[in-house]
Symmetry: C2
């Protein structure tokens, strides 16, 4: 049955493409720039001088062509199109070491892919910690026949920002002993935040000082200017390196209608939780305040003990006085460790009507135990006790040319670890490094059960938002404690589970998801917290190895490591 599903998906995709067939073609130069993202000077990775990078605005079915020129001095670069499934173009996924070699300084690489499905997406660097350095932007794919009704829309790209540069952060995390980078200095909304000053300072006397902006200040907030009695779609994406977030709009409820590019059954909340890698569309209905006024939009940290001031901007009703203070303080972010509240939000999300249910049964079950470990006294994150070390040669190339060096026969294991006590620090704190990957035949229905555990020292367990490339998956359920084999499967929602590409794994709990291996390629599946990924928290799925071995993969993505050697020497005379 699952082969048929895969075939159907392919047919639908091709059909959508033929229907519109527009082309969005962009020339991008990626380079470091001096900017003031949070009213303090810092170094960002900008695209065409813009930080965040330009918003891509396309329509489902379009071909997106981005000529990326690397103008960094000595560093490679890639761009991952987060949420785009890359059916038929796995080499355009932009994951360094997995689907391509980094673009060398001074060189141009062209990403060319079809955006087959409407949704709110974003793009970002996927090499080293270049996302933390600011390499990101929004990517909107519109539906040619949008079913949602709204009068206007705003994009809100949320991120976190450190004053210590990303190179230093990488080094700290890779040092022995590991030096933790700490909480971000600022949260940014569309690349703008306020450090050491606040738009709302006048509410807390004697605390932080009030921000003074000049008109073109790079850290002045982007104001959302609205009319009364209208409906606005807020397209919100979190590309934070670390922070889990909560967003609220004073005096307004939010109707959640889309998550990760899939419509969800609408539900209304006062605020939304967002984990790195997630996107949402929410509908905001304006009322008719008399006199006209302004309302706060606040973004605060959840899931980690926060040490970062809320990011603020303003919902500004037409005719509200421009320079008058807001009458009430901003919404208070819910307590960081109120995980029940977080889970309650997650569990409100169901697929919109009309989405077919997932396959009833899975062909494979993959248990991925998330642990924090030591390796030769370096701190690592590991899956089934293997910490991922992404190789210099992209997997897609090693598989394509059947290079023997690849260890993809030896994934970190897939069985549930029966004797692991997730409530305590690991008995054996040591992990090993690995680059083995999971290989799947096409058309398989795969269940992944993510299992969280206690950290290395003391008592604690962190949230990990897991992101899968090349796919949407169904979120079948969340649970507390250790997954009970043969029992917890019975709690799965097989009726209307939401389709996502990112899902939270909560402290000491498990999360189950299902997907169909319908997309030949090599796909990263990893914690979207960039420091965690840097420390090895990810696995790699290869789908349809036989198909990959026949693919016409552009040489341009394989110009490093063993594939470069292989391809250059094969032509040697």
């Amino acid at each position: 049955m699952s082969v048929i599903v895969w075939w159907l998906v392919m047919v639908v995709m091709v059909a959508v493409h033929s229907a519109s067939a527009g082309v969005v073609e962009l020339n991008w130069e990626v380079e470091y720039k001096l900017r003031w993202p949070d009213c303090k000077e810092g170094i960002v990775i900008a695209i065409n001088g813009e930080f965040p990078g330009p918003t891509i605005d396309a329509t489902a079915g379009d071909t997106v062509i981005v000529h990326v020129t690397n103008k960094l001095s000595t560093e490679g670069v890639v761009i991952h199109w987060h949420g785009i499934r890359q059916n038929g173009t796995p080499w355009a996924d932009g994951a360094a070491g997995v689907t391509q070699c980094p673009i060398n300084p001074g060189e141009t690489f062209t990403y060319n892919f079809i955006v087959d499905k409407a949704g709110t997406h974003f793009y970002h660097g996927h090499y080293g910690m270049q996302r933390s350095a600011g390499l990101y932007g929004m990517m909107i794919v519109r539906s040619p026949k949008e079913t949602l009704q709204y009068d206007g829309e705003f994009n809100l790209l949320l991120s976190d920002w450190w004053h210590q540069g990303s190179h230093a952060q990488e080094l700290y995390l890779s040092s022995r002993p590991m030096r933790w980078i700490g909480e971000p200095q600022s949260l940014l909304i569309n690349g703008r935040g306020q450090f050491n000053c606040s738009l709302a300072a006048y509410f807390n006397k004697g605390g932080v000082k009030e921000c003074k902006f000049k008109d073109n200040d790079e850290c002045a907030p982007t104001i959302l200017r609205v009319e009364p009695l209208k409906v606005y779609r807020l397209r919100i994406a979190s590309t934070t390196a670390l922070a889990s977030l909560n967003l609220a709009v004073e005096g307004h409820q939010l109707e959640v209608v889309e998550a990760d590019g899939n419509y969800v059954a609408p539900f209304t909340v006062n605020d939304i939780d967002m984990y790195s890698g997630e996107t949402y569309s929410v509908l905001l209905r304006t009322h008719n305040p008399t006199p006209s006024r302004k309302y706060w939009i606040s973004v605060g940290v959840r899931g980690r003990k926060p040490n970062t001031t809320q990011a603020l901007t303003v919902l500004h009703y037409a005719d509200a006085p421009e320079y008058e203070h807001l009458p009430y303080p901003p919404p208070v972010t819910p307590r960081w460790d109120d995980y029940d509240r977080s889970k309650s939000f997650s569990k409100k999300i169901f697929a919109a009507k009309g989405y077919p249910p997932p396959p009833e049964k899975s062909d494979e079950q993959l248990f991925l135990l998330n642990t924090q470990n030591l390796m030769d006294k370096y701190t690592k994150w590991a899956i089934n006790n293997v910490s991922l070390s992404v190789p210099a040669t992209p997997y897609i190339g090693t598989i394509r040319y059947g290079l023997k060096t690849l260890n993809y026969q030896k994934p970190p294991g897939k069985e549930i670890v029966e004797d692991y006590d997730i409530t305590k620090p690991p008995v054996n704190p040591n992990t090993t490094k690995g680059n083995g990957i999971y290989s799947f035949q096409l058309g398989r229905v795969v269940d992944v059960i993510l299992q969280n555990s206690n950290v290395l020292n003391g008592r604690g367990s962190e949230i990990h938002p897991w992101h899968l490339h090349g796919h949407d998956f169904w979120v079948l359920g969340y649970g507390e404690g250790k997954f009970r084999l043969g029992v917890d499967e019975k709690t799965y929602n097989l009726n209307n589970p939401p389709l996502r590409n990112t899902v939270a794994l909560y402290p000491y709990g498990w999360t189950a998801l299902r997907f169909v291996t319908d997309n030949p390629g090599v796909w990263f599946f990893h914690c979207h917290i960039e420091p965690h990924l840097h420390m090895g928290m990810g696995v790699v799925f290869a789908e349809g190895v036989d198909q990959i071995a026949k693919m016409d993969i552009p040489n341009e993505v394989l110009g490093c490591g063993l594939t470069r050697e292989f391809l250059m020497n094969r032509g040697r005379h």
Copy 2:
């Protein structure tokens, strides 16, 4: 005649090689590390965890094989073997964009070359500003039949250090308007300096505080421990990014015997001036102090108005009390702008007896006017009004495969610019970017006349130490003001000019040098001040383009840009 010279050089080289034929093989891992180079934590590029990198100790004729593994997270890396001529192995010269592609992160490249001639050399990064980040170390090539007599030796590798990282420095220099990086925070001797404290603080009451070291402090000076009445060879190299230096040893004279790997007619001085890229050997004769005591070794800034404290270490006679203060203050560095003193030192340097004189006449004269300019409001350094932009594809590969894209037919020009007033800011401040190179047939005798000029704004002219790869050259002379064609040539020293690979161009003056194009390859010739090179202050020489086109250049050095594309596609089936 010059073809014969070239042939003779080759014969001598091969002969030396056959005589010894040792192999020095090293495995190096290049990575960022946290260190305390000047008693303040900073990020350095270390080799096998060492900063500076390990000292290479080889004998003339040896083959040096260095397997360099790039363990930087996202950056390429190369290593240039400064002073090694790379006869027959131009692809091993380690100049990114000229002789090789940078080594990708995670990959290993093997440098394999013969050190054909004894001398004091060093190695360093030659990509972006990785030299400023600390990628350097000493390289000693011993003579199998050393003629100098001495009892012991010490290496002194001098460098400068900024607290702002090299990535930020690159960005500052590339910003519009340019932001100058300022003077270094510290000078380092063998990677050790003292910021905000001084070994000699007790001489200036109320000033900087005295340094307190623990035994293993990374910023504690390396003490030179000596016996009385002996002769020590100090091998000194300057790998500064910016600073010109002066080194003195309290109470001792220095007999200069070697410069850039060539013996010079010995002369005795109280202190030596050193420009970035230069090396010297000096003989220091110890006396017999009673009671035994310690003496200062001081290194200070010359040629730029200094804002950096002297670097200090100690010459420690055996039996001198370990923890007693030195009785006298350290030697005072000569006034920074006493250029007459600098020139006087340079003009004391002559080839040792036994070196054949240079060819009597040159076949070509190349005038290189050094100017500071603007390009689209970016600040640049230019040669004959062209600011070098090193391409993504190494020249050696473009020439080897005759790729049409190379613009090497259009060098920046070679004629003297008659109507340029070097005493004033440029009338036309604008320059253009270029990657054209000078192409020479083999066996030509080439004179290069470097001509200095006034900077962009105000009155001033800077020292530029020019370094030629792949060659030693004869320093024919220095002069004041503008070179007078047909007149100043008559002042050339054609009798016993010293052989160097680096030479200073003094403010408002000219420097003339001669070399023979006896080394097929592509050779960088540039100001060794790293920020100046970053801003375009260099040219490239191609020697024997026909020979390069027949060379068996390892694919490994051409795995980027157009050569990667060419070599990968040529094998496409």
